[in-house]
Symmetry: C2
Subunit: 235 residues, 2 copies
């Protein structure tokens, strides 16, 4: 059944864009059934009562989908290219992520940062990816302007920082994950973290890890790191 996103469970109507998609692409009409999630675990089975330019529905069944027993948090230095930030949000959401913080580091280009990390647009991309991959939790996405403040404020049990490729398999983030525990992985910018940033993170409980033996672009490292964590929790 088609899954839709309505963050406010007191509004029994799809937003304009989803309504258009429902009518024009999916050709759903009155009395058809749809699934609706609020992105916080609520899954409702609904029957369309009004179809057309507006789509209004009645809830006929409602259930709460439990979250995973671990949280995956990714903190990534934004790339200079909007589309690379967008695709890492899409791909991490499909694979499984609870929070994405775009963190400005010393080597991050901050010119036009609110356009390059457009939170409204990134949220729409994450919502589409959540629906596409049939999940019921929308990741929280933020932009953090201070690396120092960020590393000081994290109280997650497993905190990692991807740093320089190494060939030692025990240093891979995959080998570090403890099942059922929350984890946070920091991914640096092109030009990497500064030694001062690495030291600052380490003094706040971050452990440096590797993502394998090839040199990955920031967005590839983010997706590979997110995938490695999910895989370590799964297999």
């Amino acid at each position: 059944m088609h899954l839709f996103y309505q963050p406010d469970p007191s509004i029994f109507e799809l937003d304009e864009e989803e309504a258009r998609h429902t009518a024009k692409v999916l050709r759903l009409s009155t009395r058809d059934l749809i699934n609706v999630t609020d992105g916080r675990g609520l899954l409702q089975t609904c029957r369309i009562s009004v179809a057309g330019k507006r789509v209004i529905y009645d809830v006929i069944d409602s259930t709460h989908i439990k979250p995973r027993n671990y949280r995956v948090c990714m903190a990534v230095a934004p790339t200079r290219k909007t589309e690379r930030n967008e695709w890492m949000v899409e791909k991490m959401t499909e694979i499984g992520v609870d929070r994405i913080d775009f963190v400005v580091t010393e080597h991050t280009h901050t010119e036009g940062i609110n356009r390059i990390v457009n939170l409204a647009r990134l949220n729409r991309i994450a919502a589409a990816a959540m629906k596409q991959s049939q999940q019921f939790y929308l990741p929280e996405i933020t932009l953090v302007n201070s690396f120092k403040t960020f590393v000081e404020q994290q109280h997650i049990s497993q905190k990692f920082m991807a740093y320089v490729p190494v060939h030692d398999r025990t240093a891979h983030v995959f080998s570090k994950i403890e099942k059922g525990k929350d984890s946070l992985l920091l991914i640096g910018p092109e030009g990497d973290f500064t030694p001062a940033e690495v030291e600052m993170a380490m003094s706040h409980g971050f452990e440096t890890v590797s993502l394998g033996n090839t040199r990955l672009r920031t967005e590839t490292a983010a997706v590979a790191g997110c995938h490695a964590i999910n895989l370590a929790q799964f297999v």
Copy 2:
């Protein structure tokens, strides 16, 4: 040191696009050192003798980088969107792949297929990703029009087919990989393989595997699958 790609080791000159990049972006000039690979494991240290619109170099040292002791082959049903095919090539190359076959399946849209899977352009993207990630082997990329012919002709020791998400961790491709052996993973189109295709592949020695418990788009499945295989060989 900057890495460049020149597939023909008898030509001691960069191609036009790389020459422009060398002069305009990197600002390299006569007597500067560069690395050049042929994409087949040859790594040459070279000194620029002519810089400008043309860049010509002398080889001052030459070495052969050994390939990995396993091959990663990915066979993917092309998506309808050119850019999604392009980014999976870029990302799989960064992560580590030896061959990418775009295989037309029953549910593949074949209209404009040679534009959507533009091999010349995909080779350029793979070459750029190879250089970016400091690797010395360029993956081979092909377009295969017959699923049947493809599955009949594969003689790789470990052959897998990603099919339906399952929650059983032993079914994950990661758990199936034997270290040091070549492997091939087939990724289906939107709308998945047909039951007949699954049967055909299985009768030719393919084993169905899972890529985890979320539903992934084709291009995400390709990147996640490629990453899982590399990780299984690494950790």
